[in-house]
């Protein structure tokens, strides 16, 4: 962590605000990002109790633009196992970019245009560290009449927590009409934005895409509300871990299949038969006979957190998997982790051992999420 390395980092449109608010800035996926303000545990609990504001402008906002919805959706369906052709106007879906071996190149959100006037456009949100890879991959598969555009002039904010809806409705009445995984274009105190009811914490909440030069005004307006505090990447990670949501680069990589990652819900039923996406054969086989390994939740029996990279051992000491995310869950009030184990050991309640820096310690396979989701459906 040297001062000079910061010079080469990208900054989000809210950089000056983070610094003013006392955010501890760290490098993340090529950006200077706030890891915490007052402290990870306090920020985590505030988000579960009230509403937390996250800057996620480092993520890759993209528009996939074609002549009509059927064409654009079919283009993306050639790279993903989702049923995107049947996505309704203003509907959002979680999907996966897959390689030819059925491994996950990235996980992403896809939203169809809000209105018929600009139908034929899908909004995509890529992980920050995968933007360039995703761009190249999608572009390599584009027909002449579909193009991919980066929305580099837009910021992305997330407001998450049980008070998020009450706060949003004061400034953006249309936001309150949304249910989980729906989006709309709206005015926030007169500022044009694109709002969806979605997020990465397991809580009710919204993601707001707004022009970069309006992001700070919007953020300051939200932070002026008594229920809202700024939340850093540290709590974003502990919140998503408790919610059982995988993080690309840790819980997912190019060797992981959707079935192994327990993301089979993202493999649309209609496409299990028809195929036509990369790795379809492997995925069909794993759906039928079970994957060789499966992503699971893990609860260490003691108070000590286990960390990414720790081995998971069967009772006889054989290595059967690895921890891919681990830390302390402030709401669970206990250490929580996720990882991959051989399929035979994946049943919740199975007692295993994890072996990290302290040597072998007992842990139990636990159903995900650790903290129940509270989406507004």
């Amino acid at each position: 962590m040297t001062a000079t390395s910061d010079d080469t980092l990208n900054q989000t449109p809210l950089h000056a605000l983070h610094v003013e608010l006392g955010g501890r800035m760290v490098p993340f996926a090529g950006y200077a990002m706030p890891v915490q303000y007052e402290g990870i545990i306090a920020e985590h609990r505030w988000t579960r109790d009230q509403a937390g504001l996250f800057d996620v402008s480092h993520m890759g906002q993209r528009f996939l633009v074609g002549p009509d919805h059927a064409t654009t959706a079919a283009t993306l369906e050639r790279l993903t196992p989702g049923a995107l052709g049947t996505l309704g106007l203003g509907r959002m879906r979680y999907t996966l970019l897959l390689n030819d071996a059925g491994g996950i190149i990235d996980d992403l959100m896809v939203t169809r245009s809000i209105s018929e006037d600009d139908d034929g456009t899908l909004s995509l949100v890529f992980n920050a560290a995968r933007k360039e890879i995703d761009d190249d991959y999608v572009r390599s598969a584009l027909p002449d009449d579909v193009s991919l555009h980066a929305a580099e002039d837009r910021a992305l904010l997330a407001l998450q927590g049980p008070q998020a809806a009450a706060v949003m409705e004061r400034h953006c009445a249309k936001a309150g009409d949304l249910t989980f995984m729906r989006a709309t274009s709206a005015a926030f105190d007169g500022i044009d934005c694109h709002v969806s009811r979605s997020g990465y914490t397991g809580e009710d909440g919204f993601e707001i895409s707004v022009a970069a030069d309006k992001a700070e005004v919007l953020a300051r307006t939200l932070l002026a509300e008594a229920e809202v505090k700024p939340i850093g990447l540290g709590a974003r990670d502990s919140l998503r871990l408790e919610a059982g949501l995988p993080l690309y680069g840790h819980d997912l990589d190019e060797t992981t299949s959707p079935v192994e990652a327990d993301l089979s819900f993202a493999v649309a039923k209609s496409r299990r038969e028809s195929g036509g996406f990369p790795g379809a054969e492997r995925i069909r086989r794993e759906l039928e006979t079970g994957p060789s390994r499966l992503r699971v939740g893990l609860r260490p029996t003691g108070r000590a957190p286990v960390r990414e990279g720790a081995d998971i051992l069967a009772p006889d000491g054989e290595t059967i998997g690895m921890v891919t995310s681990g830390g302390f869950g402030p709401t669970a009030e206990a250490p929580v982790a996720m990882g991959y184990v051989a399929h035979a050991y994946a049943k919740p309640g199975t007692t295993l051992q994890v072996s990290g820096r302290r040597g072998a310690e007992p842990a139990e396979i636990t159903a995900l999420p650790f903290v129940p989701h509270r989406y507004f459906r």
Partner: protein
């Protein structure tokens, strides 16, 4: 006269009381680590050399070794941290102490920084 406290560049503090050394991590270290959720302490009787990793402090995100500022045998550890590890954040240089050592070489403390030197050192970081 109050006992003097000495400091290391790794952000440990040590206070000498007779032939016993009480040690912990500094307020700067606690602030940098963030919320402490678990502290792993050695067994009483363990012999530590100056610079040995004697304890581990785990925050929400990461685990960090704590190095013994001096050589000696562990005579007592702060068991209260089992139930309330956050004391390391709340009072790092008092109630959040980690362990007591029976001094092996009282001269070693002369190699450490005094409070003024440590403050100056932290200001450069």
């Amino acid at each position: 006269m109050a006992a003097t406290i000495s400091y290391t560049k790794d952000h440990e503090w040590v206070r000498i009381e007779g032939d016993t050394a009480i040690m912990g991590i500094t307020a700067y270290a606690a602030e940098q680590l963030g919320d402490v959720v678990f502290v792993e302490l050695p067994e009483a009787g363990k012999a530590l050399k100056k610079g040995d990793a004697g304890a581990v402090v785990e925050s929400v995100k990461a685990a960090s070794d704590v190095y013994s500022p001096i050589s000696g045998e562990v005579v007592e550890v702060n068991d209260a941290l089992d139930a309330s590890p956050q004391t390391v954040n709340e009072a790092p240089e008092t109630d959040g102490w980690l362990m007591k050592l029976k001094l092996a070489d009282a001269g070693e403390v002369d190699d450490l920084m005094d409070e003024a030197a440590y403050k100056e050192f932290v200001a450069t970081l």
